[in-house]
Symmetry: C2
Subunit: 103 residues, 2 copies
């Protein structure tokens, strides 16, 4: 992967493997991406906290990886997941972070 | 939209409105996002060229916007599109930029 374009980060698009809904976009550094592959659960790098976090580590709403796709220029990943726990991905309690449509 | 987290840019996830395939991820600055909304065709900011570009402006494979969704913290957009022209989104000739699966 090419981490050079965003200061060590790549965007990771999280898509529900079954419904194909886009659930969220997070950022991964190399270590977060390795943790995601090693553990099978989506793990991100928090830019505000400067630390790794595994989605759902406290809520239980973890994201189990079912497939990882890499884009043509190696700077973005698309991760297909199964939603665990209550299945809410957004911190607002919605299933997806993309719950608002612009008119 | 909050353009402050990535030096004036937001990631834009492009999803086929019909098949729900994720086709590509690009970046938009405020002007690119306004152009996208004004024209109805996905327009990005090229970080390498430092200029706006409308996807498919030369190939004809433009992306007609059918819906724009905003994420919970206003720093990412999900744009649903109809693929025009030959429908290839990736510069490699593939339909989507995410055509490689990691094992």
């Amino acid at each position: 992967m090419d981490y050079s374009k965003l200061n060590g980060l790549i965007p990771a698009v999280i898509q529900d493997a079954e419904s194909l809904e886009v659930l969220m976009v997070g950022f991964m550094n190399e270590r977060a991406f390795e943790e995601t592959r090693r553990t099978g659960f989506a793990t991100f790098f928090s830019r505000s906290r400067g630390a790794l976090w595994t989605k759902g580590e406290t809520s239980g709403n973890r994201l189990e990886v079912t497939a990882i796709l890499v884009d043509c220029d190696d700077d973005t990943v698309l991760i297909k997941v199964k939603r665990l726990g209550q299945g809410n991905v957004c911190h607002t309690g919605e299933r997806t972070c993309f719950f608002r449509t612009l008119s």
